[in-house]
Amino acid sequence: MNDATLKKEIVALLRRNARMPEKELADRLNSTVDKIAALIRELEKDRVIMGYAAIINQEAENGEVRAIIEVGVQPERDTGFDTIAERLGKFPEVHSVYLVSGHYDLRLEVVGQSMQDVASFVSSKLASQPGVKSTATYFLLKKYKEAGVQISKDEHYERLKIVP
């Protein structure tokens, strides 16, 4: 496997399990721990891998409130949506920012300690930003799937122990 293919495989495996040990990666991909470690460092340096986060069941996140906010904005002459999107992304309350096609422009995911918290962020900080034309806030009520993982565990069917 060449380095490019190896990197692709490493990324695919870390996406599934960011805590997978380098030894397991090496064994799975028929490579060595040193080689894998070097490639991961490169992936980090090139910002292909930007961090490692846990996938958390929302019920375990005490009192945290999340909302999706649709934002209509006025794009700027030279930079289009980039300047305002990056500016909005600097608020620590903002978990993610996407430019999307459709009826509005930016899709934000915002995290707060309470609904009040999120509401006041929207009214006092977000809506008053220059270039923001409109907002629509949707509080998330229940999470069913995150990062490819179903929250409720599938029923497990036990296979026969020995099969020819």
Binding site: E24, D27, R28, D154, R159, K161, I162, V163, P164
Partner: protein, 393 residues
């Protein structure tokens, strides 16, 4: 006077009474009595059938697609199979008369053997092999002729050995590569040697390609696609392994129309047709299942890399399998025979592997480990096997 003095009549036909019980079944009885067993003895995927395939089956039920299908199988499925075979295996078949949908490859094998064999005909096949081959041949009153394969050839069948076993009564050559239980696979050159041999001795080739999609070497065309082979080959395949659909029981056979017609006669009287709702699921698998199929293949390939490395480190040598989801390590250095090794490993370390002898007498000195189980469990099993082996020496 008293009838009770006469011995009771033996109802079971002698050729069935003479069939040995599968070696795996005895072992299974033992495993059943234990809990916390980590099993490397499972010859089926650990993945649940991909959701889109299950959903297609539910849709079929909801919409009342619950009656018989054509004997040969739903025409849409046959069409999809022929298209898939052309694209994936280099095989061109007509869905109208060169393809039959069966209840798993097991039925396909059974009916093709019944369609072509007369009492006394001989079937050449390789050992180690899947447990049903010899019994299926015997049930037709034909004669199974095992040809041994060896670890030094990575368990690929050798023409020299075939030449020693072939007789004027030989009619069929039965092949299963990628192979259960050894993980052996055939290169194009290997297949060409088999094809030349079959043509030289005018044999029908039955090619059981159930593990073909789980290949870890570059894929080569099926033996039926080699020159002069299409008219003397029946290719058997199914959905159980590649699409994780064992319980759906859908297989198929492709071959010359006169053979498919003969197989259809047996199938229509014994089975009528395969399950309609399972056939609906199979159509979905062929049309949209390539992504999940490839994901599963890659996961098996990575587990294979891990398990082969560990077993060799432990001192149970095995070659890198070319396909399927089995490794076949040699355990003779432990001084135990296969059955004792497997039994003691189970009793002392609660790890189930299958003795090589379950797949033919030349499996003595080997055990079969399936890596169709999570890597986490494989790692635990390897640690336990290591402890078991070190305690022996």
């Amino acid at each position: 006077m008293s009838d009770s003095k006469l011995s009771p009549k033996q109802w079971v036909a002698p050729h069935i009474a003479g069939l040995p019980r599968s070696g795996i079944r005895d072992f299974f009885e033992l495993v059943k009595t234990m809990d916390d067993v980590i099993s490397l003895g499972i010859g089926e995927p650990d993945f649940v059938t991909p959701w889109h395939i299950r959903e297609a089956c539910i849709y079929a039920i909801n919409h009342g697609y619950t009656s018989y299908t054509s004997n040969l199988g739903d025409p849409r499925l046959r069409k999809a199979i022929c298209k898939y075979s052309a694209e994936n295996f280099g095989l061109e078949y007509q869905p109208e008369n060169e393809c039959i949908v069966t209840v798993g490859v097991s039925e396909a094998l059974d009916i093709v053997l019944r369609a072509v064999l007369s009492p006394g005909d001989e079937v050449l096949y390789h050992e180690p092999c899947y447990v049903s081959y010899a019994p299926s041949v015997r049930m037709t009153h034909a004669v199974p002729v095992p040809v041994l394969t060896r670890a030094e050839n990575d368990f690929v069948l050798q023409v020299e050995d075939l030449e020693k076993a072939v007789t004027p009564r030989s009619k069929v050559l039965l092949l299963n590569y990628p192979n259960n239980p050894t993980g052996a696979g055939m290169t194009l050159a290997d297949k060409q040697l088999m094809a030349d041999f079959a043509i030289r001795h005018d044999l029908l080739v039955l090619s059981d390609e159930i593990y073909e999609e789980l290949s870890y070497i570059p894929r080569t065309p099926s033996i039926a696609s080699l020159p002069g082979m299409k008219e003397r080959t029946v290719t058997l395949n199914g959905f159980s392994k590649a699409f994780a659909m064992t319980g759906f029981r859908i297989g198929y056979a492709c071959g010359p129309d006169d053979l498919i017609e003969a197989m259809m006669k047996i199938h229509q009287y014994s089975m009528l047709c395969a399950s309609s709702i399972a056939q609906a699921a199979a159509i979905e698998a062929l049309q949209n299942g390539q992504g999940p199929r490839e994901d599963m293949r890659r996961e098996y390939e990575q587990r294979r890399n891990v398990i082969v490395k560990r077993l060799n480190e432990i001192g149970l040598p095995c070659f890198m399998p070319r396909g399927a989801f089995y490794v076949f390590p040699r355990i003779s250095s432990t001084g135990l025979d296969s059955a004792t090794f497997a039994k003691r490993l189970l009793q002392e370390k609660h790890v189930a592997v299958v003795p090589g002898t379950a797949f033919g007498s030349c499996g003595e000195g080997f055990v079969r480990c399936s890596y169709a189980t999570s890597l986490e469990e494989i790692e635990i099993a390897m640690t336990r096997i290591q402890e078991f082996v070190s305690a022996l020496s």
